[in-house]
Amino acid sequence: MSVAGDGMAVPGLLNYWVAVGVLVCGLIMVVDSRNMVKKLIGLNLFQSAVFLIFITMGKVSNGSAPILDPAVSTYSNPLPHVLILTAIVVGVATTALGLALVVRIRRAYGTIYEDEIADKPQVEPEIIP
């Protein structure tokens, strides 16, 4: 499987495994953090692991960036790049929206820690005059 001779196929599936590891780290951060900002950073980590999987699958050994040039004959696959460009932008849009919500939550509850919000006595406007 891994052609050690010219050192090209050595990474094998390593990229995917590391991506899975990062994905797990991100997921743990999302599930576990009580700090809402850290949670969003975990979300970024989780998403970028998926981006790495996409970009790795597009790589062709000895290929070059998919900008056509008469001097080059082998190119990497451009489609995963296009998909991930879109996905990165979607990811940062989500982060920005999430951070704006955190700012508003801090204004309303005075904290960015979820457990402290749960402890706080709720001042709920039950009746709007």
């Binding site: 050192g7 050595v10 990474p11 970009i55 790589k59 050994s61 960036a65 991930i84 940062v92």
Partner: protein
């Protein structure tokens, strides 16, 4: 050429190791500031890795987004008073079980994947050969990523612009929040936060910034219009242009800014970008083609494609640049 494959492999493995280490550190850290800095470092490593994997356009975007925007926004949100509250550095049992479950499932799934760089992998067989082989004739653009992004899958990119637009108006809505009930409401002139005035009072900084801004704007224009031939395009250009505008705003200092950077101006800029993109699509429809079929916009197919791609990239750039300004100003409002 000395073995490029070997260099590539070594770089790949080294960067992967750094990536994994940074991810674990981020998971374990409790201080918001540390995590933010680590997340910037992580993005930088990721961006280098993308270059190694030949994804130059993606690397450019990751540099602008992950290292730039995301870090700055997080820095705007965290404050010193957010002391880390006591949480054990190691994750809870539940999350470890969940993470391991997903991880084991995913690693099992990798068993049937093609190896790194395998040119015979199914992913390179079906769609990609046409994009690499035909796109110069069909769209007349050497950067295949741009031609696929803007033409073959131009509709996804319209969706992407709408997502940015949504985030932009959402942040304005959420953080402008409590619109001051003084009634006027219209054409509110945004102000940059007063805290920056001392920063700008520094003469060295002021001079350096004023020299840098024209170069930044020039570079943005280059990235915008050279995206057909090299890495870059409307999105990356928009981010850079937005950075230039923000710097200009900082230089003007607190107080009123020129009309362009008012709330109304920013919102209009964001929406006009989307509408320009949509208008290109609708004009194709009116000219008898399908939605976003640029070929019907001009006499020859490639001329039409060129025109269409130029216009939609302009739309992307407008929306992104205005959104950058809106994000920066919204997040920097003084919350006193």
């Amino acid at each position: 050429m000395p073995n490029i494959g070997l260099i590539n492999t070594v770089a790949d493995i080294g960067l992967l190791a750094m990536l994994a280490a940074t991810a674990v550190l981020m998971m374990r850290s409790q201080s918001p500031l540390t995590i933010t800095i680590l997340s910037g470092i992580y993005s930088l490593i990721m961006c280098t890795l993308f270059v190694v994997l030949d994804a130059v356009d993606v690397a450019f975007t990751e540099a602008a987004v992950g290292v730039g925007i995301a870090s700055i926004l997080i820095l705007c949100v965290i404050k010193h008073k957010d002391e880390p509250n006591l949480q054990s550095a190691w994750p809870s049992g539940l999350s470890i079980c969940l993470g391991l479950g997903v991880g084991v499932l995913a690693v099992l799934g990798t068993a049937d994947m093609a190896m790194y760089g395998d040119p015979l992998a199914p992913v390179h067989q079906h769609l990609a050969p046409r994009f690499l082989g035909q796109s110069p004739q069909e769209t007349g653009i050497p950067n295949v990523v741009t031609s696929v992004l803007a033409s073959y899958r131009g509709y996804d990119t319209l969706g992407e612009v709408v997502v940015i637009f949504t985030a932009g108006i959402a942040v304005l809505l959420l953080l402008a929040g409590e619109t001051r009930a003084d009634g006027s409401g219209q054409h509110k002139v945004l102000t940059f936060p007063a805290g920056h005035s001392e920063l700008i009072a520094n003469p060295v900084l002021k001079m350096v910034l004023s020299r840098i801004i024209p170069i930044v704007i020039l570079f943005a224009l280059y990235v915008q219009f050279h995206g057909d031939y090299g890495p870059g395009g409307g999105f990356q250009a928009g981010v850079i242009f937005g950075a230039g505008l923000i710097t200009y705003g900082l230089l003007c200092g607190p107080g009123k800014l020129p009309g362009l950077i008012s709330e109304k101006g920013v919102i209009t800029g964001m929406a006009l970008g989307v509408l320009l993109y949509g208008a290109v699509g609708v004009s194709a429809l009116i000219c008898g083609g399908d939605f976003l079929d640029y070929s019907v916009l001009s006499d020859s197919q490639t001329a039409g494609q060129h025109l269409g791609i130029f216009l939609i990239e302009l739309g992307v750039g407008m929306t992104v640049a205005s959104t950058m300004v809106s994000l920066f100003i919204s997040f920097n409002r003084d919350w006193g």
